[in-house]
């Protein structure tokens, strides 16, 4: 990212050597000035599309055509939710087959637009799985995730979709909790559908 002198006379410069890779800057910035090459909006959207069976060719915004509903998408933090998912898999724990896990650097990287777009594209439900308060790998990414969830959920409520959106904190070493949480959520989504 480059800096540009704004009206305030100050210059924002990013030292990429210091970047920890959480991607929270991308989430916070309303105008896409910040980006992170490993997890661009386009890359995450491509994963959402693939998981929902859409052609992955990226359409620019506004050109989305929704298809039939189906899988529940799990946006899992690579340090907690995703580890727990792997552990659940290794232990042979069962959770519904219609779930798809999308790994993110940090749940604070997400944005209401990405989560809502998953629903727009036909996801039956969207769940965010991040680190518990106080143990975020990036210190405060989960606070950002909570704020993003709060906005998404408020928007979801207005559209009658809030039962299809959830946020849960999952310890990295708890495969059982992962499986239980996902089972409960998917059951709830099916019940409310």
């Amino acid at each position: 990212m480059t800096g540009r002198q704004g009206d305030s006379g100050r210059l924002a410069i990013v030292d990429s050597l210091l970047c920890a890779g959480c991607g929270n800057c991308v989430s916070v910035c309303p105008v896409k000035a910040a980006n992170i090459s490993s997890a661009t909006d386009e890359a995450i959207e491509a994963q959402i599309r693939a998981a929902l069976g859409h052609p992955v060719t990226l359409s620019p915004c506004h050109l989305v055509t929704p298809s039939s509903p189906h899988p529940v998408l799990l946006f899992a933090c690579e340090w907690s939710g995703y580890s727990a998912a792997e552990l659940a898999g290794a232990r042979g724990l069962t959770y519904p087959a219609n779930t798809r896990v999308i790994r993110v650097n940090c749940t604070g990287r997400l944005q209401p637009g990405l989560l809502l777009k998953a629903l727009e594209l036909g996801a039956a439900g969207v769940m965010v799985l991040g680190c518990a308060p106080g143990v975020c790998h990036y210190e405060r990414g989960n606070e950002r995730a909570a704020a993003v969830f709060e906005q998404t959920n408020a928007l979801g409520r207005l559209m009658g979709l809030d039962t299809r959106i959830a946020l849960k904190w999952i310890p990295a070493d708890d495969g059982e909790q992962f499986a239980r949480t996902v089972n409960e959520f998917v059951e709830n989504v099916i019940r409310e559908a």
């Binding site: 704004g6 009206d7 305030s8 915004c61 506004h62 050109l63 727009e120 906005q151 928007l155 409520r157």
Partner: protein, 393 residues
């Protein structure tokens, strides 16, 4: 403005660009051109005239125009530049081009989702905190149609903006509440649509005519079924869309569409002139209410009758500068500079309060003040027009 002809070829005739004198007044007054040297309405007109279509359609900058109508207002040849913009955008979308969305596309996603007929919204939460409102809710079932209530209050998407912009301290719910309270005080008990959709304003101006029409038809169907004879809204974009754009695109509502301030101006007698308030306020004309709909005096009059001293910014009424951003796309350095400049003008009036009359203007201004240095220098209290006027009730 002729909208139905959205092919470029036709728009070249209907927008009047054949008359262009190449005087450059448009570019001289354009707020975007002031901060982005690469943007020029005069050059765009020239390109459209020389039929260099692809160059025109593939230019990123075609998405940055605010449709603020500053240029068309000063054009000596009376050219409708925004008709050209709309036509160019509509064609460019067909080539797979699109505007760059702000806010991670969240706003566009909800606008698009509202085109789904089966969507069941729960958008009336703003009504519940106050028990003494008088209104009826029309949910499209004949039983909820209230024939004595012949006015519809079109609330607009304030609840959605509250959900996304709570961190900026945006309280659209209180704008909607204030508007309803004003209506009640004027003796009007309106119907409110439980399933109201986005009016489609932003999608239209981005050239997404198909989705605009889907929204327009969904709203029109509910409005017709409600049996109302008049629609009142406090949102300048909703009024513009319902009053001008729906009929221009063949969606006829057959009812009057009025901005709340016009209604108040007509009910003069009910609004008593009160004592001078200690507060000095300045009023920012939203482009859609001002240049698009020609409503300048009514909102000011209500403030003055309430006893506020209205002091004007350097650019006001017909010459008011845009809040700098439009349609939740392409917000960049030029847009921020426009906002900062506008806030400087507001600050320079010495007013205690900047009165906005469009929730979006307030959101963009507050966003510009997120920069602490700007907040220290040009921070000013912002209140929506209806929230001030409701003080009279």
């Amino acid at each position: 403005m002729v909208f139905l002809d959205t092919t470029l070829e036709q728009t070249i005739h209907t927008s009047g660009i054949l008359r262009c004198l190449e005087c450059g007044k448009c570019t001289a007054i354009c707020p975007i051109a002031r901060y982005d040297g690469g943007f020029s309405p005069r050059v765009t007109v020239g390109r459209a005239l020389t039929q260099r279509d692809n160059e025109l359609l593939d230019d990123d900058r075609l998405w940055t125009c605010l449709n603020c109508f500053q240029c068309s207002q000063v054009c000596p040849a009376n050219i409708d530049y925004s008709a050209l913009t709309l036509a160019v955008r509509t064609q460019a979308r067909k080539r797979g081009q699109a505007a760059l969305c702000t806010h991670g596309e969240a706003i566009h996603v909800w606008m698009r989702m509202m085109t789904q007929p089966e969507l069941k919204q729960d958008r009336l939460g703003w009504l519940s905190p106050i028990s003494d409102f008088r209104f009826s809710i029309f949910d499209s079932s004949p039983a909820t149609r209230h024939s004595a209530h012949d006015t519809l209050f079109f609330a607009g998407c304030a609840p959605y903006y509250d959900a996304l912009f709570a961190p900026l301290g945006i309280a659209g719910a209180s704008v909607a509440q204030a508007s309803l309270r004003i209506l009640n005080a004027l003796g009007i008990e309106p119907q409110i649509l439980a399933g109201e959709r986005c009016c489609g304003h932003d999608l239209l101006w981005e050239g997404d005519v198909d989705r605009f029409l889907q929204l327009a038809r969904l709203n029109a169907e509910m409005i017709r079924a409600s049996g109302v004879k008049r629609i009142i809204s406090a949102c300048p974009e909703c009024v513009r869309a319902l009053k001008v754009d729906y009929p221009a695109f063949g969606v006829r509502l057959g009812v009057e569409v009025v901005h709340l301030s016009e209604l108040l101006a007509d009910s003069n007698s009910k609004l008593k002139i009160s004592n001078r308030k200690s507060k000095m306020v300045t009023y920012h004309d939203p482009c859609r209410l001002g240049r698009h709909l020609g409503i300048y005096a009514a909102p000011r009059k209500a403030l003055e009758q309430l006893g506020y001293q209205v002091v004007e910014m350097r650019h006001n009424r017909r010459n008011a500068t845009c809040c700098g951003t439009n349609g939740w796309t392409h917000c960049g350095a030029a847009n921020k500079a426009i906002q900062v400049q506008r806030l400087r003008e507001a600050k320079a009036t010495g007013a205690d309060v900047l009165v906005t009359a469009c929730l979006k203007c307030q959101i963009h201004f507050k966003c510009a003040l997120m920069d602490q240095q700007m907040a220290d220098e040009i921070g000013i209290e912002m209140v929506d027009w209806s929230e001030l006027v409701v003080g009279w009730v």
